[in-house]
Symmetry: C2
Subunit: 317 residues, 2 copies
């Protein structure tokens, strides 16, 4: 297991700075009153390609040695990593092959193609995605960049909380959504080195709560094909991300589908930002566990903004 070091995270920051945004931190007096906490929303929905995953993808792509450039990169992803890897590959002028579930939002598929990514579709299950991907990789010889269980990717994601703690002083806690655990692992990598007093909470859909169950059980539990509106959070933990979750996360809280949709709508309505269901899970969790966060200064990672505007969750029939 090749665990990324904090030096890797510092190197990532230098490497990716030209290709990513230093995203703004938003506050909302409405949200503060509602939760009793002081919330600082790190808006990665404004990130290049619309998600924090541009950080990890750029670190992997721009760290690639010359002799691997020609065959390009390949990955499987429920959406944002595909998009972000296509963005990064496009900036470096190399091909990018992506395996996506056929059920992924149309907006994400269109955007992947818009950045030049070449899509092969699979069934919406972990097993199908891994099977189809093995074939694509064998055919192309491209460098595999895993959406989260990759030290280059985790080191890239770690740059998000570096910015956050520069932008906001005296944080008591950070809450990030957890799917495969890439963002949470990057957050752990940075905060355990720069601000170990800041507690790290992961927020997960009740209907895809494998990370919360793993955390309690003390070993990885993976679900095949969980169903949740938070489509970015369906994937399981892997060894690298489990390492960070197990060692540095304070707790993992869950929220119901309705709580996630309500929190998402509230953020759109009051903060005027377009963000994904996955990004609403932290607020849903804070609202459900008010006593944990009240009176605290809490960083909230808004992980992405790539949503299908024709199919908003609260408008489904």
């Amino acid at each position: 297991m090749n665990i990324p070091s904090f030096d890797d995270a510092l190197a990532a920051r230098e490497r990716i700075t030209p290709w990513i945004h230093r995203t703004p931190v938003f506050t909302s007096s409405f949200m503060n009153e509602l939760t009793g906490a002081q919330l600082f929303f790190k808006c990665e929905n404004f990130q290049k390609a619309g998600a924090f995953k541009a950080r990890g993808a750029c670190n992997a792509v721009f760290g690639l040695p010359e002799d691997k450039l020609e065959k390009g990169v390949a990955t499987h992803s429920s959406g944002n990593h595909a998009l972000c890897l296509s963005y990064a590959a496009g900036r470096r002028g190399i091909p990018c092959y992506v395996v996506m579930p056929r059920t992924a939002p149309q907006a994400k598929k269109d955007a992947v193609r818009g950045y030049g990514g070449i899509i092969t579709e699979c069934e919406p299950s972990t097993s199908s995605r891994e099977e189809v991907f093995a074939r694509v990789q064998a055919e192309t010889g491209a460098e595999f960049v895993h959406p989260y269980n990759d030290p280059r990717v985790i080191a890239g994601q770690a740059t998000c909380s570096m910015e956050l703690i520069e932008q906001v002083e005296g944080l008591d806690a950070v809450v990030a959504p957890i799917g495969g655990g890439g963002m949470v692992s990057g957050t752990c990598l940075t905060l355990s080195n720069l601000a170990p007093e800041v507690k790290i909470y992961a927020a997960e859909p009740e209907q895809a709560d494998d990370a919360a169950r793993s955390f309690r059980a003390g070993h990885i539990i993976a679900d095949d094909a969980p169903q949740t509106v938070a489509d970015g959070l369906k994937v399981p933990l892997k060894d690298l991300t489990w390492h960070f979750v197990r060692n540095f996360v304070t707790d993992i809280h869950t929220a119901s589908e309705q709580e996630i949709m309500d929190a998402m709508r509230l953020i759109w309505q009051r903060m005027k930002i377009v963000m994904e269901p996955s990004s609403a899970v932290p607020l849903a969790v804070i609202l459900r566990n008010r006593d944990v966060f009240a009176g605290k200064r809490v960083g909230v990672i808004i992980t992405g903004g790539n949503v299908d505007l024709d199919r908003l969750p609260w408008q489904k029939a």
Copy 2:
């Protein structure tokens, strides 16, 4: 006619600073490539109460003399001015009476009530709104704060472009939506004093093009009850705003309903911000008149973000 001076605008800035946000300016490489211009989006959708009108409303309310406080303020508005006046009155702890068309978006009515405003509904025509308002004002004795034809309001709106030219150097032009002309008048007041080289363009829905026709005719032409998706832009010019439009605006361009909806959707999709149809008219106009703006540094006023999330324009049956 009591035309506000630039000193009034400077006083407004000092008066309202504690009550409003200095809103951020967003850029988008996608939008720059699409238009061939360099666009700087002044995001008043992030303003207090969700619209630039918080500026003018706060200037009127916080400039009110002590002996007028008890009876409060009153207005008629298609939405955002009602909301923003309610916000301002609430902050000063005085009553706020608002006459709104019964067809105004539910989100706006709810938000007015949420800020403590007291609503009386009228029919969706200029004549009905003025009639009902006269009755409300007679009954309450409240101070009338017109949504735009009021020197206090125009002086308040003038603070928006003061910030913009501090945030962005070397602008060639500013494009703002035009309904009654409050934002455009405030922009004229500031730029004619601080940056007279910056051209001012107004952007208007084709289906509510009374300002464009007035501009060409050389006198005010008012429509009763025009229909457009840009619900904030249905009202006509009045003497004060006509003064500024006639003397300082370079040109008024129009856009079709489809162009406005397409521009709105594009901004949501690519810039990840929630904004109103009215705020999309400038981008629609820039896309339609590419040769006017290509190669220029252009400020674009995103005027508000109070949209009914259950009835997005591109989702209407």
